[in-house]
Symmetry: C2
Subunit: 128 residues, 2 copies
């Protein structure tokens, strides 16, 4: 794969903030600097980057799907409902549960989705 200016811009935009962005939001941000980028390129690039695990797809909360920069290794996410801040966390292992489910159901499990949502400290204070 080539690291084209467009792809670089998409990665930079997603990596720039600590939050998660919808495809449209990404398009709008990238468009500020690359005024001739097409929305199609955004979708294609997101698909590619997600496949390469450079970015992560988020499903919980309102803006589904949205994307955040991918941390190294396997991890899960905690996002703020209000400002959209995303925190990665690791050290939580689901293989025991996965084994239990495999035994109980006979499923061949190939992936899972674990996300938390809530209010971050800053937004909690603002709410008062």
């Amino acid at each position: 794969y080539k690291l084209t200016p467009q792809r670089r811009a998409v990665i930079r935009t997603i990596a720039a903030g600590q939050d998660h962005l919808t495809p449209i939001e990404i398009y709008e941000k990238v468009h500020q600097d690359h005024s001739n980028i097409g929305l199609v390129t955004i979708y294609r690039t997101l698909e590619l980057l997600a496949k390469l695990k450079l970015i992560c797809e988020l499903h919980a909360g309102n803006n589904c799907p949205s994307y955040t920069i991918g941390a190294e290794g396997h991890h899960h996410h905690l996002t703020c409902n209000h400002c959209g801040k995303v925190i990665d966390f690791t050290g939580y292992d689901l293989t025991n549960l996965e084994q239990r489910l495999t035994l109980e159901t006979g499923f061949k499990i190939d992936s899972h989705l674990l996300e938390f949502t809530g209010l971050c400290q800053v937004c909690q204070k603002e709410a008062t």
Copy 2:
């Protein structure tokens, strides 16, 4: 809230199978018996039923969002990528993790999403 024929039909349709259905799929099924139901009613009903926890929204896998009938109490889901079958499971408690995250991040956590996907037994056999 009133239990109108339309709402009853939507619930029945979702409850009838063991799988999960997208709004469009639900519309098509309900439409067979209630040929004059509007797609709008489907969306409104799904929103209402989800709020009342009578149905559950699924996010993992391809068809996002899709809906399945809501089991009693708090539970999570395991779905088959191939036939769409959904299995509810309980007895997995995330409050420890939730407390850890609250301490570490200061978030006030209000919900989570935990889903597994894979291949059910039947679809595994078919694949061979």
